[in-house]
Symmetry: C2
Amino acid sequence: MADASLARLLGTELPLIQAPMAGVQGSALAIAVSNAGALGSLPGAMLGADALRAEIEAIRAAVGGRPYNLNFFCHTPPVPDAAREAAWREALAPYYREHDIDPAKIAPGPGRNPFTAETADLLEPVRPPVVSFHFGLPDAALLDRVRSWGAKVLASATTVEEGLWLQARGVDAVIAQGLEAGGHRGHFLSPDLTRQPGLFALLPQLVAALDVPVIAAGGIADAQGVAAAMALGAAGVQVGTAYLLCPEATTSAIHRAALQSDAARHTALTNLFTGRPARGIVNRVMRELGPLSAAAPEFPLATSAIAPLRAKAEAAGSGDFTPLWSGQNASGCRAVPAAELTRALARGLAAAH
Amino acid sequence: MADASLARLLGTELPLIQAPMAGVQGSALAIAVSNAGALGSLPGAMLGADALRAEIEAIRAAVGGRPYNLNFFCHTPPVPDAAREAAWREALAPYYREHDIDPAKIAPGPGRNPFTAETADLLEPVRPPVVSFHFGLPDAALLDRVRSWGAKVLASATTVEEGLWLQARGVDAVIAQGLEAGGHRGHFLSPDLTRQPGLFALLPQLVAALDVPVIAAGGIADAQGVAAAMALGAAGVQVGTAYLLCPEATTSAIHRAALQSDAARHTALTNLFTGRPARGIVNRVMRELGPLSAAAPEFPLATSAIAPLRAKAEAAGSGDFTPLWSGQNASGCRAVPAAELTRALARGLAAAH
């Protein structure tokens, strides 16, 4: 049974992973999910070293030896481009005026951290049971360090080609990120979004092409979705959006309201918030600038220019400039404890047999 | 049982529909599928009145009273725009030169026919058991005529909003066209492609929103895909791409070769061939002009300018200018009789119970 083998690989009771979601969750959600028998995940991309260390310690103290997952981005930080940054701020200028923001006072900032040797130094004494990567993998030496600790390594593929690339580099399982998925697209071999299929097409083709277990992600919102993914040959599933209303998530009130509204029916891939395509509920800035803009600086440099607009708008109760990350299927979002949601999703694993 | 009810509605043994695919099939495929217990479909959009009448007669003579489906497009023919046509031909000019084609000799042509009062006149004596529509529905009076014959009416929805719109107008079942599907997108309420989810997200949300049965389409390539769609609440499935290698399909040798190659892993929505977004395997003209071009004339007027390029290239064995229609999952294509493929797909219906 494929799912039993994934649970054995991960050391969990269930072949079910809570998707790491930077900015909307920390250790609390990961702890609740791991303690419910699935694999809770901590997103590391927006945490500095001290915060990362503290969050990992919180998880280790609370899960009683159960496995958990630490997730990291693998981008190469770009060289800042002053002309592009200026053009981007010019595109945002009407919004700065509307919100009484002085763009000269906006500090540039990185926004999202990649996995580095310093991250590995920090993790080495921890020996995390599972580490997952997005946007490819760290370089071979760094990856070897992670594997030398005995950590199981997972990584996202948005195409069959990316799955083959990851398998050739020794990952223990591949996450099939269907186009439905919320948050950042994990692509790394090609920026061409047309190459990335929906889960109904991506998952069975990855299962056929790979020898390692394939974990289904994107649009899976409830037990029926889990059962469908297992029917398509998944070894397990990764679910993100459905957890966003759980009390253990740090999802803002504005974001929670959007997820529960009809607006959640229309998501789009946008690069306005970070510089890389990520799926969120369409809001004012995505509508007005187009969800994908050639003017946005490279990931993650686009983050800084929009941050003060987001802060001002949110202070006034508006999500007009907020990344309202969501997959294409928010219908499974429920304001219940993450353990209860995990058990409900797990019923789809049983139904698959 | 939802699927039993759809089979009862359609009058078939199986809740399984062969997707109508204009240009790559005629009556032969529809006959084979209907005689295998599923619902064969004849696409009417590219047939003149005489050809349509002959194809329907061929089906009726061969299916021994079993149900079949006649499919029609519901677009409003656009007013030709000479300036836009000239700009489009200018964009194609390098290709005309390369292929030694005199653009002055290219006749403008409609390319695809909509369902009209004349179509209804032709169908009235036939009293077709099932009629399906793409791009919305014909106007209320025409739709009433179709329903007055006792025909069951199906139509495609690419969003929840379109499903609700179709249900309010009395369709008997809604086809959930996931973004994975090959050929023309069926959208009619908004041309915004970001509104159209993958099947994993669209299907369960349509099932939850509608009272009529929902038929899953897009990316379903084999019995596992059928079982997955049923797990997500589908009342039945519609499969197109998987039939394209069957001997009963009229798929060209060039198209068949593309479907069996690694190139089939990369499809995109393109408007270059007809003026409306449709999914096909990425080829030279899609790569070089971009799969979606603002210069292409309105549907179906873009068809005529590219037709002679297609003909010349195909005569030389090249699919560089051919619409290589395919969904995102061509992995189920098999060069076996359509009845055999139908029985293989139907095993997924049994697995769902």
